[in-house]
Symmetry: C2
Amino acid sequence: MSGYHHGDLRRALLTAAVTAIEKSGPAALSLRDLARRAGVSHAAPTHHFHDKAGLLTVLAADGFDRLADQLTAARTGSFLDLGVAYVRFAVANRAHFAVMFRPDLYHAGDPEVIAARERAGRALYDGAADRAGVDPEQAREEGLAGWSIAHGFATLWLNGALPDQGDDPDAAARAILRHLRPDGP
Amino acid sequence: MSGYHHGDLRRALLTAAVTAIEKSGPAALSLRDLARRAGVSHAAPTHHFHDKAGLLTVLAADGFDRLADQLTAARTGSFLDLGVAYVRFAVANRAHFAVMFRPDLYHAGDPEVIAARERAGRALYDGAADRAGVDPEQAREEGLAGWSIAHGFATLWLNGALPDQGDDPDAAARAILRHLRPDGP
């Protein structure tokens, strides 16, 4: 088990998982490989996360927590700032981003995932409601529209699929996302 | 080699690849598995596609061709119709969709991919230019915005990540995508 303390080993395995997912995506991840990378017994990941879905559940909850923090911090700005914050989150946390919106890969009903996802959703929809005023259906649709355009832009950017995409995702996102609300602030 | 004619075997391998990608994504695909599924020698896929990237190149080109056809057919409608056509394409061709925008997985410089991708891009940007009028930078940005929101919605939909997403992607896409252009037709 080398010299890890309990919490340190758990963190080391999560860090190794993030690195592996950044390189090859979540599908290729195996707990056995992780143990080898972290230099621990191959029983260690199972002990901490039960199985691969268990580990990805921890990453998803952590990802929604980070996203909620970033969206909450951006909420004092415009709706556009919220979208740019989403793209910035995706670029800075590409392993989490690759897992969070794939509920088939983890335990989406896990209480920590649900709580973190709701917090992120509230930050998004409250941002939309700030602008859309009283109509909750309007706010819901505008929140989904903002989510869709930011998610699509981030996904295409991370895949290198955009033509001449350059190396400044913030500026590129800002130029594109503002078209969601041509009359907005 | 069983009783396949040359073209039939190629098609059978591509069909088997689509089924495998729909089930487990492009990362898990192996030519050896494909050969076993199609009941042919494991040299057959290599003969037809050289390697996995070669097979995915054929799928990507085919996908961009199909997308170009559907966007071209939708162009007589509104910009919204174009976005809905994109989502409909993604839902109906989820294996192609999972490959086309992952240029790291295939030979993105392949002439057939380039030609088909340009045709799809033209259908998208011409649709945007129809609406944006003369300013080419405005048309480019609006095309990218429309692509982003349709791509994001389709990706979230296919992953089952949207809250209460129901079973009618067309109607759901229409309700969300119309927010891209609140003053549009």
